[in-house]
Symmetry: C2
Subunit: 461 residues, 2 copies
């Protein structure tokens, strides 16, 4: 079974007057074809490298050589990275290793290393973490495409100094592995000078589209994940989603339905709600992909448009008890995408105790998997009955193949959506100002100390 999209609850016949008319969707097929062509042209110009990652056999062999040579020699693999250099690794590892991997014994991990992603610069996380781990048994994978990311460079400086101090000046090449641009940036320069092994991020693959490059695949392989199966899933899904026929293209349909819901029905919030604890991190990965790719000031012709739906991550069933009241009764400003895992891989029976107590009796004899699935179907139906847009994506399981599919699915949907919004889904010009101001505040050469408007006592309480 492959990824499956049920979009009936986006359509007017199901939503009692609200919703997208099926004939509107049919008419939209022409618009989608234009978006499809645009993506095809950019791909042909070599601008969308993520499409080709599943077929990069040499890269996979290189990753395998590293992983097989290094993997079980270390107790800990620590990724230093942020944003696109961290989120994909978190998504893959949580989905395929489980949320508690690092708490398992060596035996239960099959002697694969623990895997940590340090994706922030909070001293209260990083200080105690570095104090706690055994540096001598740790490999640090420093991931920054540009090789200049402030947060990652700061982490690297701290770790490099500790490794030198505790393990000696010569330890670097054994305890570091860089993933960065093939030519430029500080990490590439350091790697060349110090002989640190390095993998390359293809220049035509941006951070948020890089999980299927060495950025995400190296840590996954080190932790024992079958990266070939991830890539096979991604390749198969790409084949399905590279067709101009809207109604046969699940990624195209997702992009088109979310676009129509936002443009024509004011649903500016896209909730992604997997019914799986293991897909929490994947939801965070999706939020970056969707937000950073579509949230743009300028359209392709340079006009100010200020577009972009806002992605929101939720987890079922948990967030039924947190966000659902708003989703059911609040403004009609959302599309909720529920994600079902057909075979979660294990189940737990609910025993029939206390048959005389009605609030407990009906649960006995079912399983947690059944309860979770019933709640998901009930949630979709409840949303539908209230006229609320929703869709359901089903994947086969928490398997490498299914994760590869899901990742490629959203990457392709994102570039189609970019073409529909007439924006460039591959750039992120809006983050530069904040970086420049930070450099100024820290006194970086060439950057002026900025004037910052804050601290006015009239407006402080």
């Amino acid at each position: 079974m492959t990824l499956r999209l049920d979009y009936g609850n986006m359509l007017a016949p199901r939503l009692g007057g609200r919703g997208i008319e099926p004939r509107r969707l049919q008419r939209f097929a022409a618009e989608f074809r234009r978006a499809y062509d645009e993506v095809g042209e950019r791909r042909a110009r070599g601008e969308m490298g993520f499409f080709d990652l599943p077929h990069a056999r040499e890269t996979v062999s290189e990753i395998r050589r590293f992983a097989d040579g290094l993997g079980q020699a270390f107790e800990n693999v620590v990724v230093l990275g942020i944003g696109g250099s961290a989120l994909g690794t978190g998504a893959l590892s949580q989905a395929l290793l489980g949320a508690h991997w690092n708490e398992l014994s060596d035996e239960r991990r099959d002697y694969y290393p623990r895997l940590y992603v340090l994706e922030n610069i909070d001293p209260t996380s990083i200080g105690p973490f570095l104090d706690r781990i055994d540096l001598g048994r740790t490999l640090f994978n420093v991931v920054s495409k540009s090789g200049t990311t402030a947060e990652t460079m700061a982490q690297y400086l701290i770790v490099a100094e500790r490794v030198r101090r505790e393990l000696g000046l010569e330890a670097g090449p054994r305890h570091f592995l860089f993933t960065t641009d093939p030519e430029s940036g500080a990490l590439r320069q350091l790697a060349n000078e110090e002989g640190i092994p390095t993998l390359s991020v293809p220049p035509n693959v941006g951070g948020r589209f890089s999980v299927l490059s060495p950025v995400g695949l190296l840590p996954a392989a080190l932790a024992g994940i079958d990266i070939e199966a991830v890539l096979a899933g991604a390749a198969g899904l790409a084949d399905r989603c590279v067709t101009p026929e809207l109604l046969e293209n699940p990624a195209g349909l997702t992009a088109s339905l979310l676009y129509l819901a936002e443009r024509e029905h004011r649903a500016n919030i896209n909730v992604f709600m997997p019914y799986s604890d293991r897909l929490r991190a994947l939801a965070a990965w999706y939020c970056q992909l969707w937000a950073e790719s579509l949230g743009k000031r300028l359209d392709a012709s340079g006009q100010e448009v200020h577009v972009g739906p806002t992605p929101v991550a939720a987890v079922g069933a948990t967030d039924q008890h947190s966000q659902f009241q708003l989703y059911m009764e609040g403004p009609f400003d959302k599309v909720v995408t529920l994600l079902a895992v057909r075979d979660p891989g294990c189940d737990v029976e609910i025993p029939p105790l206390y048959e005389g107590i009605p609030a407990l009796a009906y649960l006995g004899g079912h399983s947690l998997g059944e309860l979770l699935s019933a709640e998901r179907r009930a949630t979709a139906e409840a949303l539908r009955r209230e006229g609320r847009f929703n869709m359901t994506i089903e994947i086969a399981g928490h398997t490498p193949h299914a994760l590869g599919e899901l990742i490629m699915f959203y990457q392709i949907a994102t570039v189609y959506a970019g073409a529909l919004y007439h924006v460039d889904p591959l750039d992120q010009p809006g983050v530069e100002l904040g970086k420049r101001l930070t450099y100024g505040l820290l006194g970086r050469q060439g950057y002026e100390a900025p004037e910052i408007a804050d601290g006015d006592p009239r407006w402080i309480v």
Copy 2:
């Protein structure tokens, strides 16, 4: 130092034409006074019990007796709960114990127990977790105000059967502790029949306002958190925020500014972005509080209004590399509340290595705390320069007192916002339909199997 709100970047003089006019805010003081009075009246009628929790001395003594008697006898405390029965406990424990508490050695935890919150029914989490822990050294705190929550009851049945099987029929009263309604519900009935120790949730305290009741305080106390300091912080903040003078009332200002931004400037998304890994779970707690309290179909007069801003959790600096492109360039539909921790409690120096490489040199000599703080200030300023609503809340530290303040701050802001929107912030009628449909799907007596509109092959791809 106490909680501090800097709201200058919500105002027109700062936002270059966009933003709320200061005189509009001044005029709004009268409207706020009406909201203030309404909250005061409901409080006087005994409907808003959360205000009084910081002064419930008897409850605190009772919690202390339990905690001192039980705490260090157990290696694990496992909370079975969902939504309001889980989020506050997660918020307090992550903020005050750190995210990696459960990975620390007994010594580093001062022999306080590990603390787990099972807030979902995903079999792939719960099965392996229960297989892994030592039931004989585990206390299960079952938390459900109604004593009927399906997810929590299912968890309880599974655990109760395992405890009976592995530890014997009589083990229940030693390994369970219920937190529930003082009179009604299945948990109360079971507690009476089986002699299971039980703490009460006051009837006038709803789930999402219950973190300062035994719901949140018992697990906190068991893990060694100074709950008296949490309550002292909450009490002090409540004193500051119970004043009808809008411009002197930080909770009133937060509610009013977010209300005005949404009603008069179409900012329907409220981002809460602590610059602290330890406040991730607090952000999730806030999201429930804000969404479930304000997302309503009907106003107080019974009119259909379908209101409610959508809360979004983010974490700085991490999400600058994920959501920030959208926040800076996308639609003007957001207010970002940044949260600063004045003294995070520890810091890490960034050593001055590689002074010849510009991308690294400027970082040396600063600390991670300085970098984090510079990024936060730069982010606020960058948002401001782009005309984007933002505010900054500063708390003193990751201390029990500061957390108590912050929790009470948002609880009070929430009921003021409810009064401004003319909705009841204390109910959640929208979650009932989903529950009924779930009961029907599971064959609960008295509930019909529902017809569910899904699976139409025309709309599946």
